[in-house]
Symmetry: C2
């Protein structure tokens, strides 16, 4: 898609300039811009689908596998879904200007900690074109300018979506340059984006480990990783076994390719004889490949001898597929220790009726999201009532868990006085 386009630095400079006035816009203007984007998507659906068809055809010629083409493909319903998603984001409470806390000091100074936009957020992502619109909408809602760098396989779709969004936003009063789509492809471009200190305030990579490492090697701007998840479901001695079976099936199967799907099932030795035979049977019938430790094979009844060995590597792997590692542990403490050693700090669940076990688990598991008697699949900005999300963070600084509009903000202290000087 090489045209005589502005450089990455030009685009970042324009985004920074736009971010200064965007941060000062009232939410009424920003919300009107979002509704205009939603309307624009619906009004220009033919244009979007034309561009998408060109991407799909090019992808088919280039031999892109079917599931990836599926993720790339748009249709009228998906475009309507994108527009509705933007309207939902518009309806969220404005994070900008929220007073997080405030207090008066003994010397009479009034201190307020006020939420403000970060400035310019960049996102690097793969395939799905709806990410372009989700992220643009989250950025505008949170008062940030955004630089979008999608996959080259979606270049036509993203260019049209970006143009619709930035035109609609500009007509509603959002400054030009606030929504920018980079033509994608070159690694040098990524390095340029990741080193624009002072222009780019945050870069979020959404994608595989390759992208993450490529960025880590070059980035000098702050990076927030929307990371992978090696999630666990632990069935405690006192668990309700019906709930436990329902939840491991849900956590593994409801959408196995997502980062909050379960990859390991741990079962307390006291629950194992009753739980493993029925749960593993149900999982296998649903098409899940099981990799079990020795105690599981002993305690799983007739199924036991038919189970494959779990290797050391299996405990550390995010399968992203219909594969599940299964182990038996002696206690909730052993489960916590296993999860903290092998997990990725994303989402982990305990099934239990024991308040002390629940308390030990929620306190001891060092993960972004810890569940008691619920599926790990709930880790999601939408599910949490935060609107859409830019991804899920497993890092500890700044944001942990879903990255929504608040997480795209920083804060400042505003201190008001009547002439105070420091003694």
């Amino acid at each position: 898609m090489a045209t005589t386009s502005p450089t990455v630095t030009d685009i970042c400079l324009a985004a920074k300039a736009a971010s200064r006035s965007l941060a000062q816009l009232d939410s009424g203007v920003r919300d009107a811009a979002l509704l205009a984007i939603a309307d624009g998507l619906e009004a220009r659906v033919d244009e979007i689908l034309d561009a998408n068809t060109r991407d799909i055809e090019a992808g088919r010629e280039a031999g892109i596998p079917g599931p990836l083409l599926d993720r790339l493909a748009l249709n009228p319903e998906r475009v309507k879904g994108m527009a509705d998603g933007v309207r939902e984001i518009a309806a969220l409470r404005d994070p900008v200007g929220e007073v997080i806390e405030g207090w008066r000091l003994p010397n009479g100074l009034d201190v307020s900690k006020v939420r403000v936009p970060l400035g310019v957020v960049a996102i690097v992502y793969e395939a799905r074109p709806n990410v372009t619109i989700d992220c643009a909408a989250l950025a505008i809602k949170s008062g940030n300018a955004i630089v979008l760098r999608g996959s080259s396989s979606a270049a036509n779709s993203n260019a049209v979506l970006g143009a619709i969004a930035s035109q609609a936003a500009a007509e509603a009063g959002v400054p030009e340059g606030a929504i920018a789509v980079l033509s994608s492809g070159e690694r040098e471009e990524l390095a340029e984006l990741a080193t624009r200190e002072g222009l780019v305030d945050l870069i979020i990579p959404r994608g595989g480990e390759g992208l993450k490492h490529a960025l880590k090697a070059v980035a000098t701007v702050p990076v927030m990783y929307a990371a992978s998840g090696n999630c666990h479901v632990y069935v405690d001695a006192t668990a309700d076994l019906d709930d436990a079976e329902k939840i491991i099936l849900n956590a593994k199967l409801q959408r196995p390719g997502t980062c909050n799907a379960a990859e390991t099932l741990l079962v307390h030795r006291d629950a194992a004889p009753a739980f493993l035979p029925r749960a593993l049977k149900a999982l296998r019938e649903a098409g899940v490949e099981l990799r079990a430790d020795a105690r599981t094979r002993t305690l799983a009844g007739d199924l036991g001898p038919t189970l494959a060995d779990a290797t050391d590597e299996d405990w550390d792997t995010e399968f992203h597929a219909l594969i599940l590692a299964v182990g038996v542990v002696d206690s909730v403490e052993a489960a916590i220790e296993h999860i903290n050693r092998h997990g990725s700090g994303h989402s982990d669940a305990i099934l239990t009726n024991d308040t002390q076990a629940a308390r030990a688990f929620t306190r001891g598991v060092d993960s972004a999201c810890v569940y008691v008697n619920a599926s790990t699949r709930f880790t999601d900005g939408g599910q949490y009532g935060m609107g859409a999300e830019m991804g899920n963070s497993t890092q500890k600084l700044h944001a942990r868990g879903p990255i929504g509009v608040r997480e795209l903000c920083t804060y400042k202290y505003v201190v008001e006085g009547s002439g105070q000087a420091r003694p």
Copy 2:
């Protein structure tokens, strides 16, 4: 101080292990440990002063300049001050386990966002030995293990202070390894510390730009910069000139070597004829070297022709000394623009009696701390009522402004249900 000491990695491994149980300790135990540290400092004051004397003597022989030796020197009062500081930190409310917010979802799930320790915090700092104790106390209060790497010129002092702190803490029930002092000096050691991903959760450099750049070049663990400050005082058209004079004198002179001292004075053109002659006279009489723009020289009365020219570089410089750049601007918008272009995003103040100017300034200035009618010198965790601080952050991710006990924490989502699976 080379003895056959454990490697940096050994120390970080021990700190990580300690952090796991430290995070689970009730605040009663952690607070008791802090009080024991305070008592230990007072009981072992002679030992501390002996070690400090050795550092001072070595420093004198090595030709360390007087002001640096001053910062390095301890005496009974300073040791008492350190102990009292630890007791103040013990008296703070426990940040660990604070429910930041919580809500119930439509499906009945209860979501709580709970503050939890980061894990292992490392700090790299210069000269002043009291930092060793301040930072150890802040870490224990916030449930974190800490790795301390001070200046080699304070090696004897820091070794004794670290030993007193870790012994007292251990006797009170804090796990061994939670407070570790690295023998300092080698750059390789710094690089090793800054690359222990998975062991060190955060590294905070306190010191000059050289240290910052050295770390930036090698660090793979998250870094939070306790940064320098190029702070501004802006005197608006409607300012109370008595307050304005008092505050610029305070912001420049009360402690000129600190990061929240003022480096630039901006004056609205309407206030300049009345304000500049008196303010610049008072500043000069206090020993401040003034560097002024052309309009200031015109509007400063008799003093005008005697003022040195401000160069472009002066606007960007944190003098850390009795030097002040002075400029005249046409409007609050021009002041905001100057500050956002030349400032470091630390602390900036407006003096005004105009509510709209105050509002424009607090919203428009993109800094960690923005003051209305008060001195920039208040930017400090202690002054803000947050207890002591690890430094002040001018970055936007995670913490902005004073880094206190809450800022040494992350959070996790705890989600409690009754068997919910995702539809």
